[in-house]
Symmetry: C4
Subunit: 155 residues, 4 copies
């Protein structure tokens, strides 16, 4: 059931081909983070199993630990004590802050794009004015040609 | 009294229709965060009530906990131990870092906009030069027409 | 001695009038953060003084606490336990993450500006081409006027 | 062996001369962070050695501590207790969040650049239209000159 849910979530986040890079990157990183947290929570319990001062013993505990680790809150109520558990912890941390950086950067890109679209409308307006100008110049040529032609005929 | 204060805060932050998206998003997220922290502090005390090793027992303690959770400091002096309390904690964390990402992105958009407005002035200056050019070309046509007309009459 | 150092630091960070908004905002926020950390470390020791389970007892301890609080690391080796101490802690947290958001946004603005200057050169190049075009059009008018004048005289 | 690996990593990250500022800054900051974490982990063990309540005793422990410090997770399972150790810790924190800010800003710049390149294509298209316009105006002049010349000859 879980893989089906994940596959659908990934398809939802990555599947829209027309979307911009920043939306795909932020969505993709979020999907990767969710997968890393779900798999990492299971793996850290396996890695910590049997260690003398281990405090990450059950999947629900590890899931809570992965949330407070990925958001960098880190209360210290749960933390890995084995080499394997700490490598998993480091991966959750790095994927967590990278995802967060991507979401922040994607938000900034979205905001900047909205502000620029306003100015872009101004630029399009200027381009339309340019076309009017060119049309006016062609009309001046038409009129001048008729005058030259008329001046030639009158002779 | 509280709802009245909140309604006014939300109105202050969201109510300006003319404001840009990034200002409305950052203000709205901040208002949502304040509401989530105030309600979450109350809800976490209710959720933790009666749990054997619960340490979040009073509203003032929970308010302090929500501040150190939303800012991702997480000293570990207070943390939820029940499933309900941890779900509330996860919501405070995610809303906290999302708000922070929105404020950072809004600041970047504001800074980038200020820098671009400088260059925009340059572009407007260039557009004004363009209009002068078009005016000069029309004057050349006027003069040429008078010359052609004069050349025709002289015959 | 300290105020003199601070005054010089603030003057260094804020005093350059010609600087862009994002550099002034990031520099100003950093200066405010340093002042808040130095004053907050002193104030938190005063606020915590005499509280039963207080662990922030000396200025050097409080300075270390303010660093791990402003960077949101929060080991939990030191934390305020009184209302006054927690208000000071909340101020250090909020000023810390706001400063960090401003520095990140200023970096983004600086990077984006550098990338746009490249494209701006392209735009300036296009504007120069436009001036050459206008010059060429005026020369065509000059030549045409000479032709019309010559055609009139020959009659 | 380690210096050789580092030298190669730095060369890989900084050595591409043609790269943009934001990529070089983010890559350079990441390389500096890795060096600071590796050297800081060794230095903090030396600084903490012999302190009464020291908990950072071995290099592997200190490496794990530097990861949770640089990412600002800070569980509190390990933390420095001496002045020297805390100065090293402060350096790891500040370099860590600065690196993270640079990576976020570089991501934003990359995303914004991709979005602008789209609009840039539009601008290039507009510039091409401008050249067509100029070509058309020159053709009008050619035709008008032939007419004036013909009108002069016919007399």
């Amino acid at each position: 059931m879980l893989p089906g849910f994940l596959a659908r979530a990934v398809a939802l986040l990555l599947g829209r081909q027309g979307r911009s890079l920043h939306l795909k990157a932020a969505g993709g990183a979020t999907a990767v983070l969710v997968v890393v947290m779900l798999i990492g929570s299971w793996a850290v319990v396996v890695a910590e199993h049997g260690a003398p001062r281990a405090n990450l013993r059950t999947y629900p505990q590890a899931l809570w630990w992965s949330i407070e680790t990925a958001t960098t809150v880190g209360y210290g109520d749960f933390y890995p004590v084995t080499l394997g558990g700490r490598i998993i912890g480091a991966v959750v941390m790095v994927v967590g802050i990278t995802t967060y950086g991507m979401v922040t950067a994607a938000l900034a890109t979205w905001f900047v794009g909205r502000e620029q679209r306003r100015r872009h409308h101004l630029a399009l307006h200027a381009a339309e004015l340019g076309e009017e100008t060119v049309h006016a110049l062609h009309e001046r040529f038409d009129r001048l040609e008729r005058m030259v032609a008329g001046s030639g005929e009158r002779n």
